[in-house]
């Protein structure tokens, strides 16, 4: 039956906010100390919080391993593609293509924002899959 445990309730109420904070770190990576890698690790931390807090029968369909592996691979390819588009159009690897503005808003970094999002997707999906597989195996 449905039992009340402190850890269970707190983890399921808190984990979506941790994942959202990871997305915030990813998308505001050019204004804050965060960035793609840090935000990805925080996203994975939200999933780790769920893994540690919830009872095992809740975790069965939580992480779709095939989908997350696909996201990881595709984001690696997207990163390479963004770099190569820079070579074709601008002349250098990872050439800045979008227009930039003065610092302070989310759209002002242009191309960096897209790169941050791609790296965040890759790191988040990768660490999530690693920790999920390790946890489910034990």
């Amino acid at each position: 039956m449905n039992r009340t445990g402190i850890l269970q309730v707190v983890s399921r109420k808190l984990a979506p906010f941790v994942v959202l904070f990871g997305f915030y770190l990813v998308s505001y990576g050019h204004l804050t100390p965060g960035g793609g890698f840090q935000g990805g690790v925080v996203i994975a931390a939200g999933v780790i919080l769920l893994l540690l807090g919830q009872p095992p029968e809740r975790l069965e369909g939580l992480v779709n391993v095939r989908l997350f592996g696909l996201v990881e691979t595709v984001s690696l390819l997207l990163f390479l593609g963004a770099g190569i588009i820079g070579i074709i159009l601008g002349g250098a690897f990872l050439q800045v293509l979008l227009p930039t503005g003065s610092a302070g808003r989310i759209t002002d970094a242009g191309f960096i924002f897209i790169l941050n999002v791609v790296i965040g997707m890759k790191v988040g999906a990768g660490i999530t899959v690693i920790c999920y597989r390790l946890f489910m195996e034990s």
């Binding site: 100390p33 960035g35 890698f37 690790v41 931390a45 780790i48 660490i127 920790c131 034990s138």
Partner: protein, 78 residues
């Protein structure tokens, strides 16, 4: 001055983590090293490195290390 204090703390905690017998205690000491190291980077005006150190060193690494210690044999002191 603050940096020297924190570096001395790093060395002391590192020696403690190396010489202790119980693996779980060593993992906890490494988490403490990680937390102090994040504070050191913060004082050296590198908040992004501090954020990475706090995230990877204290969170994900201790998750993985604890899992490994549980999988292998724990030489317990208790």
């Amino acid at each position: 001055m603050m940096v020297i204090i924190l570096l001395v703390l790093h060395i002391a905690l590192g020696i403690f983590a190396l010489q202790v017998r119980d693996m779980l205690v060593a993992v906890i000491a490494l988490a403490a090293v990680s937390l102090m190291s994040a504070l050191l980077f913060f004082f050296l005006d590198a908040p992004d490195v501090a954020l990475t150190e706090a995230a990877v060193g204290a969170g994900v690494t201790s998750f993985l290390f604890v899992w490994f210690v549980r999988k292998t044999e724990r030489r317990s002191g208790e």
